[in-house]
């Protein structure tokens, strides 16, 4: 599994590499499907939608996309998942996380992938930069240490049939760091709580 990193020399280079490759493997049919979904969700014109695949979280036959407005300087992108059955799900679907986990997660999906899915597709988050490694974003890690906090990578644990995911996510627009706890109960529903760290 490959995750893009915000910065740090190695992370930035890795992310740039991903950018160079993007677009090449996405067929026009899929691109149009995502654009149409974004159009339906946001009222954007299909020709104003830019679609990029997020290769770092591709899993099995599940693919993931970001749709942005190619003209208006918006501070957000829309996240979509193309599931094996051809359905496109996004934030508008309240059960998006459950559906993606069911369709794409399997039993061995790592915590980092879970964290990306929850961050991108749960309504109480919607976006943000998941912190996967301690050296991923040195300034924010430094601030954590100054505040007496310690970094922890995304982690999954189980309590009976309940799965509990914890991770840190940075909102890059406000530069607010959150600690997130996502709980997936036996019935598949995912609840998320977040708290500011600094």
């Amino acid at each position: 599994m490959k995750f893009q990193r915000i910065l740090g020399p190695a992370g930035l280079a890795l992310a740039l590499g991903a950018l160079a490759a993007e677009g090449n493997e996405m067929d026009s049919k899929t691109s149009m499907k995502i654009a149409q979904k974004a159009q339906a969700d946001q009222g954007w014109k299909a020709e104003d939608v830019r679609v990029d695949e997020v290769e770092s979280i591709r899993r099995g036959s599940c693919t993931f996309y970001e749709a942005g407005h190619s003209k208006r300087p918006l501070p957000y992108v829309l996240n979509y998942a193309l599931l094996p059955d051809g359905q496109v799900v996004g934030l508008k679907e309240s059960d998006a996380v459950s559906r993606i986990l069911d369709a794409c997660g399997g039993k061995d999906a790592p915590a980092g992938w879970w964290a990306e899915i929850v961050t991108r597709f749960h309504g109480s988050l919607g976006s943000g930069v998941v912190l996967h490694e301690e050296n991923q974003e040195p300034p924010i890690i430094r601030k954590m240490k100054e505040a007496g906090k310690s970094f922890a990578a995304p982690a999954l644990s189980a309590e009976g049939k309940t799965r509990i995911l914890t991770f840190y996510v940075l909102d890059p627009e406000s530069y607010i760091l959150y600690h997130v706890t996502a709980t997936r109960s036996a019935d598949g529903a995912v609840e998320v709580s977040k708290s500011e760290v600094l």
């Binding site: 990193r5 910065l7 280079a13 300087p73 501070p75 988050l125 040195p138």
Partner: protein, 609 residues
């Protein structure tokens, strides 16, 4: 040094002239009699003074002036007067309790001189009297002030025949004592006997707590007359119909208002009028809130009274429900009766657009008047109710808009000019900008704060991040970022008509909008380090939407050079295609610029003017 009309007091400024009742004979408190200028005193007083001088210990200096210890005076005093305790301690200018000398006439209160006896004092003298009364012997205070006013006397006594000076000294003492009485009232005292005794004790500290002789009782009685006169405004207030109409809390606040303004005759004179103005307030709690605001905003200036009266006297105020009235009176309390707040609130409730709102919408508006008792907030709320985009919102979004505008209007932690310019875009009658609230994620708030659309000049803010109610805005990092940063940031995009592009210009447009939002929120532009850590790195990160366009722009060498130059400005390092990623990720401590210095200033409109 002392001057005042007499006495046997070694330090007296006013000499008691037993044979010439109408004449004041002064001697210096500061100077022992034997060093006073020749002819400084005469007659019997001279004899006494000389006797005191002989018995007096060496003068000591206080604040450049000296006075003699009064305890030695008894030795020089005629036996018949030795029982008069005040003589033992009489300060400069003091006369003994119960004396029937001509000086007694000088000691009469001078309330009729110029209205209040405090009118005998200059503002500086009054301040000194207020500060010193009760802490120092009255006569010492009076002598000091008198000498300061008459340096030409060089500290000598008032001579027999210098009636004008003697009267001036006595008037001054009346002023000092009146200042003391008013201060006692201001501090909460109202028992005339208690106050009178305090005034007496200030004249004669050695008698404090002691039983008084008949002459001393007589002196105390004279003081009590003055005290009763001084307390008349307080008594009149308590006897007024408006006062009696108040509940216990209201009466407490009314008395507090009178006390708070007691030392200022002009302000004191306005208290009854202010109290009467609460007649239009329907609830007892509301009346008390108005009075409490006036107490906290004391002194009761003419404009505070006028504007409070105008607001409470407005037919529109009278027509409000008791609950809505209370929102205003609570606001008045919070604003400490700021006259501009009262003026703007009156304008708001008299605005036809306010009257056109539904009752629950009027309550929503007035709730923010209460929550943000600031004239700027109220002024902008009035502008808000005049905007069509506001009137087209439902109640919930109106509540969000109201708290956003009220909060931004009074927030002084940010950059006022930028915040005001941003608000003006939304509220100026001639502006066609709009604010709309939008859902960004189903079932949750997400982390999208908002966006700007320059085609429709609309600022969209995330509805899920601000609760719809009549409370204050909950202040946390998220809400502050929403209303302070995002509003300014997105309005900046609209003003600059920014569009996404594969150019440095777009990169800079995003940086500029962020720079403006940061400045609006924090009150100052970002530093190099803040800009790099919180924005530039993200805008260059290909996993961000911005970064994809930056990467594409940098494929053009000419555009790339602009990015390198920008990074070079921020870090002070030489930047080119080979190292820009490393530089962008470098530790600020390795930069050649100072990380704490202001970040590069982008081009374009930076304050949303």
């Amino acid at each position: 040094m002392s001057v005042g009309p007499t006495q046997r007091s070694s330090s007296s400024s006013i000499q008691r002239t037993e044979t010439k009742p109408d004449e004041a004979v002064a001697k210096s408190e500061a100077k022992p009699a034997d060093v006073q200028p020749a002819g400084a005193h005469s007659g019997g007083a001279a004899t006494l003074d000389t006797a005191y001088a002989e018995a007096k210990p060496k003068a000591r200096t206080t604040s450049g002036q000296s006075y003699s210890a009064p305890s030695t005076l008894t030795r020089s005093r005629p036996p018949a007067e030795q029982s008069a305790a005040p003589l033992d301690t009489a300060p400069p200018g003091a006369k003994s309790a119960g004396e029937k000398s001509g000086v007694a006439a000088l000691d009469e209160p001078t309330t009729t001189a110029k209205g209040s006896p405090t009118a005998n004092l200059s503002p500086t003298e009054l301040k000194a009297a207020q500060d010193r009364f009760g802490k120092e012997r009255t006569y010492k205070v009076v002598d000091d002030l008198f000498h300061a006013r008459h340096p030409e006397l060089k500290g000598r006594q008032i001579k027999p025949g210098e009636k004008a000076l003697a009267k001036e000294w006595t008037d001054m003492r009346a002023g000092v004592e009146e200042a003391g009485i008013q201060k006692m009232v201001a501090d909460g005292k109202s028992d005339p006997k208690e106050i009178s005794r305090d005034v007496f004790d200030a004249r004669h500290p050695d008698l404090k707590g002691k039983k008084l002789s008949a002459p001393q009782q007589k002196e105390l009685g004279e003081i009590e007359k003055q005290v009763n006169t001084s307390l008349e405004p307080l008594k009149n207030l308590q006897g007024s119909a408006s006062f009696k109409a108040l509940d216990a809390e209201g009466q407490k606040q009314a008395l507090a208002l009178m006390r708070a303004n007691y030392q200022d005759p002009d302000a004191r004179g306005r208290v009854q009028e202010a109290l009467d103005s609460t007649g239009s307030v329907k609830s007892a709690a509301g009346k008390a809130q108005v009075l409490e605001g006036l107490v906290q905003g004391s002194p009761l200036t003419a404009d505070k009274l006028a504007n409070t009266k105008a607001l409470l006297g407005s037919p529109k105020f009278a027509g409000l429900s008791e609950a809505n009235q209370n929102l205003i009176t609570e606001g008045l309390k919070g604003a400490k009766a700021d006259p501009k707040f009262a003026e703007n609130t009156k304008k708001l409730i008299e605005d036809p657009k306010f009257a056109a709102l539904k009752p629950d919408e009027q309550t929503a508006v007035l709730s923010q008047v209460k929550n943000y008792p600031d004239s700027r907030s109220v002024g902008n709320l009035q502008r808000l109710v005049n905007k069509d985009w506001f009137n087209n919102q439902d109640l919930a979004d109106k509540q969000r808009s109201l708290k956003t505008v009220a909060y931004l209007s009074q927030y002084d932690g940010g950059h006022r000019a930028t915040v005001d310019n941003t608000l003006d875009k939304m509220l100026n009658p001639s502006s066609d900008f709009k604010l709309q609230w939008k859902d960004y994620a189903s079932g949750g708030s997400g982390t999208t704060y908002g966006e700007g659309d320059h085609d429709t000049k609309t600022l969209y803010l995330n509805r899920g991040l601000l609760s719809a109610d009549n409370d204050k805005m909950v202040e946390n990092n998220t809400t502050k970022h929403l209303v302070l940063h995002t509003a300014a940031h997105e309005v900046n995009h609209i003003l600059n008509k920014d569009e996404v592009d594969k150019t440095f210009k777009y990169f800079e447009a995003e940086y500029r909008a962020w720079y403006t939002g940061f400045t609006a929120e924090h009150g100052q532009p970002p530093t190099n380090q803040e800009a790099m850590e919180q924005r530039i790195r993200w805008q260059l990160n290909p996993s961000s939407f911005y970064g994809k366009y930056a990467a594409q722009a940098m494929k053009d060498p000419a555009e790339a050079q602009k990015f390198y130059d920008f990074l070079s400005k921020t870090t002070g390092q030489k930047v080119d295609a080979s190292n820009w990623k490393t530089v962008a990720a470098s530790d600020p401590s390795t930069w050649k610029t100072k990380p704490g210095d202001p970040a590069p200033v982008p081009s374009g409109n930076l304050d949303n003017h």
